[in-house]
Symmetry: C2
Subunit: 238 residues, 2 copies
């Protein structure tokens, strides 16, 4: 946080900071991906602030991807879907967990389709220990995250979910920190938009990110969060 916010209480400082980031990036980048955990930490007040920041970003013309990573059995997923993917206001898309499979994703997909919004299912995450879990391998050397990708492609390419540009409203999170995997995943999910975290603070380069785009040079959105919002601390941008 910049020093001039030090005198505010935490949520007020976060709100001032977040709205300043929105103002700084509007018109320069197409989308923002606010991480709800940073807000949720402060309970109801933090969540209220999150929803206000999302609304301000949308008003500023930004696409808002709410990074909430929610997921549950269908009956609970329906409540999360109502919270974030309703037709009136709220973010344009959210990140979700695919661990529950098709019936856990269905309420999110139904809500996204009805509201003209989208979801990004966690397929390959960008953190170092992702591979310990997600690289579990079957008899033919197929990896678990490839199974998740196949499920996302199958579920996301159903009737009514693919738009005029050829992309599904069901996208995938594919960490830029694993470019070889991203190439494989691009083949498995030709109609998925990729949300690509890992650029910047987590170490991936622009070259690493290129693997997530499709043959037309589209189909991915690269996310740089910490390297942008903490740029004030860098002498050259201060």
């Amino acid at each position: 946080m910049p020093e001039e916010l030090a005198s505010l209480d935490a949520v007020a400082a976060i709100e001032r900071f977040s709205l300043a980031v929105v103002e700084a990036v509007a018109g320069i980048v197409p989308a923002v991906k606010p991480q709800i955990a940073c807000f949720e930490r402060y309970g109801a007040e933090g969540i209220g602030c999150y929803h206000r920041v999302v609304a301000a970003a949308r008003e500023a013309g930004l696409i808002v991807i709410a990074d909430v990573k929610r997921g549950d059995i269908g009956s609970s997923a329906a409540h999360y879907a109502a919270a974030y993917l309703g037709a009136k206001g709220g973010p344009d898309a959210i990140t979700v967990s695919g661990y529950f499979g098709a019936d856990g994703l269905a309420p999110f997909i139904d809500a996204a389709r009805d509201a003209g919004k989208g979801i990004f299912v966690l397929v390959r995450t960008s953190n170092p220990s992702a591979k310990d879990i997600q690289d579990f391998s079957d008899v033919r050397g197929k990896l678990f995250f490839e199974r998740m990708a196949a499920a996302v492609a199958e579920i996301g390419d159903a009737e009514g979910l693919v738009g005029q540009a050829g992309y599904s409203c069901v996208g995938a999170v594919v960490g830029a920190t694993y470019p070889d995997e991203a190439r494989t995943l691009r083949k498995l999910m030709p109609r998925q938009l990729f949300l690509v975290p890992g650029y910047g603070a987590q170490g991936a380069s622009a070259n690493d990110c290129a693997a997530s785009f499709d043959q037309t040079g589209r189909g991915a959105i690269v996310n740089a969060s910490r390297s942008v919002i903490y740029a004030f601390a860098d002498q050259q941008y201060a």
Copy 2:
């Protein structure tokens, strides 16, 4: 919802209902597992209500397992951990996603250990399509959720995490709807407390749940949510 709550606004009705459930079950059951999605649907107001219900349940002497199923890379997981596993107040335990692996779980585990609380990692969920994703199988027929279980056991049995009763503060969610899998998982995770959803509304029987207990007849907590909180609608309990 009972008819007499129909005139209240949604959050007020949910709060009145939840507090009545807490009052009804306190002294009869050891623990409650409030599902945050039902509250989060109503934004900041709903989250405020959630935290009040958690506090009321703790005051009533109940162990509170916050069913939040959060999970993210470490830097974000640390914020979720601060939200729910702080030493002052809040729930006694939370459910978390294990998809990110060890570094995504670490902040939750550190916070739980420091506060004398616990986490339950999603290993085998209780919903019908769980198996489409979680039964992905390796060359020796080992299933993906067994890999997740092995990771939970390995991570959870580290020094300082196993208490005097022989159980780790890192437990596992193991759906009662798959009793054969529960028997396998009990062997893979001897020191994990199992949180067992699926009894009641989701179709599992008491017999199905027995598979999750260990040889001493302990080590599991069976969760019946909808069959208890909606009992008012059943003629015999009305």
